[in-house]
Every structure is written in C-alpha cells, then in structure tokens.
Amino acid sequence: MTTSTRSAPSRLPDAITDPATGQRISLLDWQAGNMRASWLLGAGVVLMLVAIAYLVALALEPGAALFFVVIAVVVATGMTFAAYWFSDKMALAASGARAATREEHRYLVNVTEAVSLGAGVPVPRIFVIDSPAPNAFATGRDPKHGVVAVTTGLLDLLDRQELEGVVAHELAHIRNYDIRFASLLAATVGAVVLMRDVILRAMRFGGARGRGRSSGGGKGQALAMVALVVLLIVAPILATLLRMAVSRRREYLADATGAYITRNPEGLASALEKLRDFSGERLQVSEGVQHMFFVNPLAKRNAHGLFSTHPPIQERIDRLRRV
C-alpha cells in the first residue's frame, strides 16, 4: 500500500455526484443538505403523529382533544429519546457482539485506530460478532459514544485496504450523525405504527359508543373520522417509505465519505464486491436493526425497492468506481 499519496491535499475528492440530481456537489454541502432534509423529515413525521392524535380526539371525544395531543407528544418523545440514548446498548445486545481486545484482534484495532485518525473522530469502542457472514455496523448517539462492530467472517474475507474501507464507511455514519438520526426516525416511525394500533383498538370501542350518539353527531365529527381513516392507512406507509429513502441516501453518503477518508474508493468497492459474491450463512438479526448494517443482512441479493434500507450493492460499487 502506498501510504505516501495520502498527504497530498491536491487529490481531495471534495465533490461527489448527488444520486438524486446527478450534479457534482461539494461533500460538505451535501452533508449539510442531508442533515437539513433529515431533520425536516423527522419533524414531518412527528407532526403527522400529532395530527393523527388530534383527529382521533375530534372524531371520538372533541372535549379531550388537547389531552390526546399531549399524550401523543409525550409517547413519541419518550420513545425517540429512549431509542436515541440506548441505541448502542440495544444494537450490541441484539447482535450478540463482544468487545474486541488488542491482544486477540490487534489487526482490527490497529486498522480502526488508523482510520479514526484520518476521519478526525475519537477511536470508537470496537466489537466483534462471531459469525461467518461478513458484515459490520456502527452505532452510538454521537462520535464520543461511537461503536463499530464487525463479524469474524468479515475479518477473514477482507484484506487490509478493504477492511479500512468498511471501517471508514462505518466511521462516516458516526461522523455524519447518521446513527442518531436513524434511531430517532426508526422510533418515530415505530410510534406512528403503535399509535395506529392503539387508535384502531380504541375506535372499536369508541366507534360503538359513538354510533349510539351519532344521531346528534356533527358534520365536523364525521369529516374528522374520514380524514382519520385515510391518515391511519397512509401515515405508516408514508413514514416507512420516507425512512427507507433516507436510509438509502445515507448509505451512499457513507460510501462517499468512506472513500474520502481512506482516499481509496477501490478498497471499499472491492469489499462490496466480495460481500456481493459471498454465498454462505446469513447473519441472524431482527428486522428492526437491519438498516444499521454495512450491507443489508436480510435483503435478497441486489434487492431493489422502495422498502429496502440499502441501495443495491452493484449500484454502490458503480458509484464508488465513478468517484
């Protein structure tokens, strides 16, 4: 590996192609734009949640509208905060990861320390998952609480440059605050779904009661009911779609940032190629954490779709080679 080229600032790939528009834009601008778009999205989901609660209240108990809204806000905030604060512990427990030691995994520790220096983030806590399926993930609510976990299968499969690429991709998620946002968004979407279930249940009771009184029910109440039903069906789907779109976009950004940190898009591209061609045991993870991984552990190979958390691997490789 020629380490010397790394110091030449003239080679900075400081612009990348925006997958949405195909235009060349600065990496930093994209990062900032992504951040803004993501927060807007999160705020949109929360607003939708509150709107649902409000409509429920109007349809069922107009007098208690404020109460419903307060409950909705408290539940949503509580869930998102818990997800944000405990994201690392939950993810580590869910994947059965154990802490890597310098003695046992000297190579992984050295690579991670080196790439952290290049990314300008504190060295994350490093974990290993005993599984032949090559994969990795990052978690932690901010760079100070960063965690990187890789499977033993990944360590066996990749050479140093490829491993550097994967670790850089994960550190990019940490540096871009993707984990914070992803867990917030996941929790918010979860809250929307939970809300739907609670309301549907309540409507079965409240609906029966409401029909008894419906002779005196106002026009507004009926309208609210219609709007509510539409929202209840549409909101969870929309929220999930938005979440997946954000997740895919962030994977591209992490790839681009990872290539930038290592100054070596080929390392990451070649790692993705090896993972694409890997045909062995899959990593056993629950659906709730699939978005966190380097490549989607659940999706069919090169799955393309609005509901997938990751872009197709081939597309990621092609974009890296075009950097």
Partner: protein, 187 residues
C-alpha cells in the same frame, strides 16, 4: 426613535457576524494544531518501538551497520526536533530508514520467522499507517483553515488577527521512491 432601533439592531447583527467568523477561525486553528499533536503521538510511539526492533534485527543481521546507523540518526533527529518542521523532517528520515531496514530483512528468513520481529513489524507498519492517516487529517484541517482565512468574509478578519496561510505537510519525492515493504500485506 425608529431609526435608532434600526441602527442598533444592524450593529448587533454585525457584531454577532464578526464574533461568528472570529470563532470559526480560532476553531479551525485549534483543529489543525490538535491534528499535529495526534501525529506527534504516533511519531513518539514509533521512536519507542525502534530500539526493540534494532535489538531483534541485530541478532540476525549484525553486519548491516549502515542501516542501523541511519535509523539511529533519524531517531536522534526526532528526539532533538524543536518545531513542527524539524519533526516532520526527522519523521520522513525515519520512514525512509525503516523502509530500508525492512527491505533488507527480506534477505534473512530466520529473522522473518522470529515472532518478536513479526509483532514489531505489524506494530510499526500500523504506526506508519496511522501517521499517514494523521498527516492526511492534518492537511485536511490546514486546507479548511486556509480556505476560511483566504476567502470572504474570513479574509477581512485574518489580517487584524495576525493569521496567515499555514503550510501543508509535504512528503518528499525521494520518500515516495522508497519501496513500500509489506505494509498492507501482513494480513
């Protein structure tokens, strides 16, 4: 009355704007200075590993005196460096000298099979890699700093603050020509 308020508000906005740029410049300056200390940590660590390496290699290739002398000189230069420039120069010397040493060790199969040597080689190539990454981040930080103090609006404040363009860490040409030994192939 109204015009006074308008003037005051504009003035306050201007002050906030200037404070913002000032803080940005200081933040970026601190960043590259901190980035240098990260490089320094790795350079010191490399210097600490060297005597052990020399001892080990001498056990198998005692007559390669010139190589040992080069490493020793680089180590002394490193220890005596008084500023960033001298450290950087000594660091480049050390990189070249260690490159030679590892190139020569290829000719001694018993040395290459020595457990202690293998461990030192992994550690030293890791440190080398960390230095490369730390330099890269340093140059990134300097680039950001230079950009801010050379573009509007930072350029208006840079002069009064006594800030000027900072230099990048360059890798000398002859260093690039040194055969890169086994870095990356230790997996």
């Amino acid at each position: 009355m109204t015009s006074t308020i308008v003037v005051l508000v504009l003035l306050a906005a201007l002050v906030l704007f200037v404070v913002n740029i000032y803080n940005r410049i200081i933040t970026l300056e601190n960043r590259y200075q901190n980035a240098w200390s990260q490089i320094d940590v790795q350079l010191k660590r490399r210097n600490d590993l060297v005597p052990n390496l020399i001892e080990t290699v001498k056990g198998y290739a005692a007559h390669e005196k010139e190589v040992f002398d080069n490493v020793g000189r680089a180590r002394a230069a490193m220890a005596g460096a008084k500023n960033v420039d001298q450290s950087a120069e000594a660091a480049n010397m050390m990189t070249a000298a260690l490159g030679r040493l590892f190139a020569i060790s290829e000719a001694y199969p018993e040395l290459k099979a020595n457990e202690n040597f293998k461990l030192l080689q992994e550690e030293l190539s890791s440190v080398e890699n960390k230095i490369a990454y730390a330099r890269q981040f340093y140059n990134d930080a300097v680039l950001q700093y230079n950009t801010v103090i050379e573009t509007v609006p930072g350029v208006f404040l840079a002069n009064p603050m006594g800030k000027s363009r900072h230099v990048y860490l360059e890798v000398p040409e002859e260093d690039k020509a040194v055969p890169q030994v086994s870095f990356g192939a230790t997996a």
